[in-house]
């Protein structure tokens, strides 16, 4: 397999449940060594996609290959090669941290001699060394996720499929978690991770934006952010409501969103429109503290791209 050919590839992948089409003709290609982020709100179809790729669901239509194996016919051959981490805690609450690790090491045929070394390393990696004898159900949310990741990594999978690994985890643990993923990425593991948090997208090498069971954009985070038209300016005004109503009707203003105490205004061209905006605000007596170009965030890119897609259809 040449290095550039995708390690995960789907063609028109579709999953139809009784009432919902959770994944709708999805075309996705992840190359070896990528840290690929599947971004989208709840209900976008991320979990179903990951479950399909892990061989846990039957495919309704289309096809997919993982590590060269066809998902329909060879889903069992895929399993030793992947590490799958479910969204909900799905380890054994009755077993201790160490016992959970041992259980999965045996199911993945990790040899006895390698097990000890890997277990120690993973425990340290996940910061669970002190909690080896604690039962799974007594761990905190973040520790549960880290234990789940450790269990997923015990057989050194080529491919990691992680379903919202940071949901319900505090910000500090989240950062730590992403540090681990980055490290794995640097070691060459292919990672497909889903997340509802847009800010996590920037730590991926490539992201796919998902909504309604479809991928509507797929590129590097940089390209996605650059891909949205116009410029973004951040405006801090005392009376943001009024400022918003004034700007809304101005020519060249594409979109206004409120972020904390600032309005993010997307305009077709900052150079062309900024003077006019300043003028209008002053004319209407709106006090503003700052008005300067702002970097595009993934969230804005997501919303804007989604808006464009809706307009198209």
């Amino acid at each position: 397999m040449p290095p550039e050919s995708p390690i995960i590839q789907t063609f028109g992948l579709t999953k139809q449940f009784k009432h919902v089409r959770a994944v709708d003709s999805l075309d996705l290609a992840v190359r070896p060594g990528e840290l690929f982020g599947l971004i989208g709100p709840d209900g976008a179809g991320k979990t179903t996609t990951l479950r399909l790729l892990a061989g846990l669901l039957d495919i309704s239509d289309g096809s997919a290959t993982v590590a060269g194996f066809d998902l329909k016919s060879r889903s069992e051959s895929i399993k030793p090669l992947i590490g799958y981490m479910a969204q909900e805690f799905s380890l054994y609450g009755e077993l201790t941290v160490l016992e959970n690790l041992r259980f999965f090491s045996e199911l993945y045929d990790v040899s006895r001699s390698e097990r000890r070394e890997r277990t120690d390393r993973l425990l340290e990696f996940a910061g669970l060394t002190e909690f080896t004898d604690r039962r799974g159900k007594l761990l905190s949310g973040g520790m549960k996720k880290k234990l789940a990741l450790a269990c997923t990594l015990i057989h050194r999978p080529q491919i990691l499929l992680l379903d919202e690994p940071t949901t319900g985890v505090d910000p500090i643990s989240r950062r730590g978690f992403w540090d681990i993923l980055t490290e794995l990425h640097l070691e060459g593991t292919t990672i497909l991770v889903s997340t509802p948090y847009m800010d996590e997208a920037d730590r991926c090498t490539r992201v796919g934006l998902m909504f309604g069971g479809q991928l509507f954009a797929c590129d590097t985070p940089l390209a996605i952010r650059a891909g949205i038209s116009g410029d973004l300016v951040a405006l801090k005004a005392a009376d943001w409501r009024r400022a918003k109503s004034i700007l809304q009707d101005l020519e060249g203003v594409l979109e206004i969103q409120l972020y904390g105490d600032a309005l993010h205004v997307r305009i077709d061209s900052a150079r062309k429109r900024l003077p006019r905006i300043k003028r209008e605000l002053r004319r209407n007596g709106v006090d503003y503290r700052s008005l300067r170009p702002a970097p595009v965030r993934m969230e804005e890119a997501f919303l804007s791209l989604m808006g464009q897609r809706e307009q198209k259809s």
Binding site: G55, L57, E76, K79, L91, Y92, R102, L107, A148
Partner: protein, 375 residues
Amino acid sequence: MAFRHLMAVARKELAHILRDGWTLSLVLFTPLLVLILMAYALSADIQHVPIAVLDRDRSPASRTFVAQITAGDDLELYATVEDLGAVEDLFTRGEIKGALIIAPTFAADVASLKGMPIQIIIDGTEPETGGFAVEQIGRRAAEFANAAIVNQLAGAAGESLQTIDLRVRAWYNPSLEPRVDLIPGLISLVLAFPALSAALTLAREREHGTLEQLLATPIGRGDLLLGKIVPYIIVGLINVILITAVARVWFRVPFNGNFALYFGLSALFMFAALSMGVLVGMFMRTQAAALALSFLLLFFPAFFLTGIFFPIVAMPEIARLEAMGLPGTHYAIITRGVFLPGVGIEVLWPYAVMLIFLGVVFTALAALFFRKKIG
């Protein structure tokens, strides 16, 4: 098949039992406790059956007759009443199971060998005790009549009404004590309890969401299903030892067979019963569902259709067929055979073959229908 995978699942399942003292003691001792209680309750001989007497004759003969009827431990003179209404009342209240009505002409009729004008009434809602009462009263009435006839008929002195002498020998259980054979029968019932526990295990994984992670691993279906069974086979075999010991030492049920053989056949039974349990609970998403289903498909049939309380030969065809598909039926035969006649494999092999057959079929069906998919 990977033995290591199987054992990993088995160890994890065993941890579920061992982690919680409550679960462990319930799993280990429920069969034993149920056996002990039921053995005490069910194995007693029928005795002290309350009857009422309505003596319309009130003659010395009738009084002797009544005294003779109620002489033993089996029938108890609960009340002497004056009219039929009182008898009916006692029956309705459930206070008596039988009644003896003696006609006013009793003494005269017996003396003249005209006959013995008595009537026995029983409570048809409890034929067990009612039938027993009829039998006992009838037997003593016959003795009484016999004596009367013999006394009256000249030249027939020393004769007996009973010309055919039945020499009854009940093998393996000379006094036909229910205790002796009911306990081996009950053993096969209580040892089916672990199968109900096994029915829960896959539903538990589903309910707790742990199945998702498990199915993403390369474990084979057979290993997963068998791994779920192994701990309960161990539990079941511990129960076999405990229960056999209690039956032997406490209830003094003879054990005439070979214990090693019994142990081995018990393992076969466990295999068959537990695979059936796993198969029954396999598709349920919640433990409640698995439980409800296993009560219907495992417990009640094991109770009524395996020939413990009602002989299988007397059941209708369909029920007999279903009984053949229940591991407990074959195991009940094995248990009784090993305990009482003490027969060996030369007699029991067909049942052992059936157990292996059922176990393999249930496991194969489970492996066939179990898919490593969620939802």
